[in-house]
Assembly symmetry: C2
Homo-oligomer: 175 residues x 2
DNA sequence: GCGCGTACTGTCCGATCGGTCAGTTATTCT
DNA sequence: AGAATAACTGACCGATCGGACAGTACGCGC
């Protein structure tokens, strides 16, 4: 049942946004009562948190793997790892992108939306250039868009595009 | 008074999103009652519509100017014109980007959010490649990010970046 | 049969939302 | 001065939200 709830919630959050999806919407999709959701999860935020935790764990692992690296090696590994991670968690990225204002202003859900910040920070690398942050956001949005059903961007194309943008923006390589 | 309302609303919508900003928020910022807002505007949507209408008019003018052009000339003119327009209406772009789910699912506000579609379409040009649409969205997001106070991306840098991305993605020119 | 924990639900709650409306204040015209 | 009009507001409304809670159905060990 928990799995059913998470599945429905993931699909609805990805298409309608977190704030745009009510508990009643999820309950109707699952086919149970709203109260049943709150029996399995302490509140609405907990559903989102659990939905994003696998991506968070993998990101933490990647951060550990990148820690000892430095220079261009670190930049390339970061880009490869994060683009790969983002592509494997397209739906989660899509959810994070949905409520941009919630992410940036973050009056709530600090734990959850810190994930977005960490993604952006990791993508931007250790670069001080604000362009790197801009690129990182744009990369996430690219993935978000590629996960939309009506935009059939091939994964190799998107991956190459993102990697090129990252390396150019980070100033470590140009082609 | 109408001008005060529009000014406050623009600032709040840009930072907190349209759905994330209540009429009470605007009224408090202006220093009047919520009912006073609805005396000057028929409803909340009308405030947003009026806020975005100048950008909509300019976009329509640009579309007319581009209509007779063709080929690479048209692509270059479109990119120049739209990047320029988007940079001059940073706050409006930021408002449009805020509620991504509202824009894409658009269960409401069809007139307003059609503006985003037109921006994207115009930026993507006549290209059939889905990559063009992805780039167009990313360009808008780049502008959105550059309008954030904490990201001081210089306008020439951003403009060059956007133009380069556009021409490359549209497949009409590479550097 | 009985006790008991798990799964689940109908119902209610306070808060907040966009919006309405009767009524008040201020200003302008005659 | 007084009527008319514009500007504005407090109080209220229905809808919807996330969430609380008492109660119910059910299966399993004893």
């Amino acid at each position: 049942m928990r799995a059913d709830i998470l599945d429905s919630a993931a699909r609805l959050f990805a298409t309608g946004g977190f704030r745009g999806t009510s508990l009643q919407d999820i309950a109707s999709d699952v086919g149970c009562s709203k109260a049943s959701l709150l029996y399995h999860f302490t509140n609405k935020d907990a559903i989102l948190t659990e939905l994003l935790s696998p991506a968070g764990r993998e990101l933490a692992e990647l951060e550990e793997r990148l820690a000892p690296l430095d220079g261009e090696e670190a930049a390339r590994a970061a880009v490869d790892g994060l683009v790969d991670l983002s592509l494997r968690f397209r739906r989660q990225v899509r959810i994070l992108i949905q409520d941009v204002d919630t992410m940036t202003a973050r009056p709530e859900l600090p734990d959850v939306y810190a994930l977005t910040d960490r993604l952006v920070d990791a993508l931007a690398g250790r670069s001080d250039a604000p362009e790197a942050r801009v690129w990182a956001w744009m990369a996430l949005v690219g993935i978000f868009l590629a996960s939309a059903g009506d935009l059939q961007v091939s994964e190799p194309t998107l991956r190459a595009e993102l990697a090129r943008g990252a390396l150019r923006t980070l100033g470590r390589h140009t082609d």
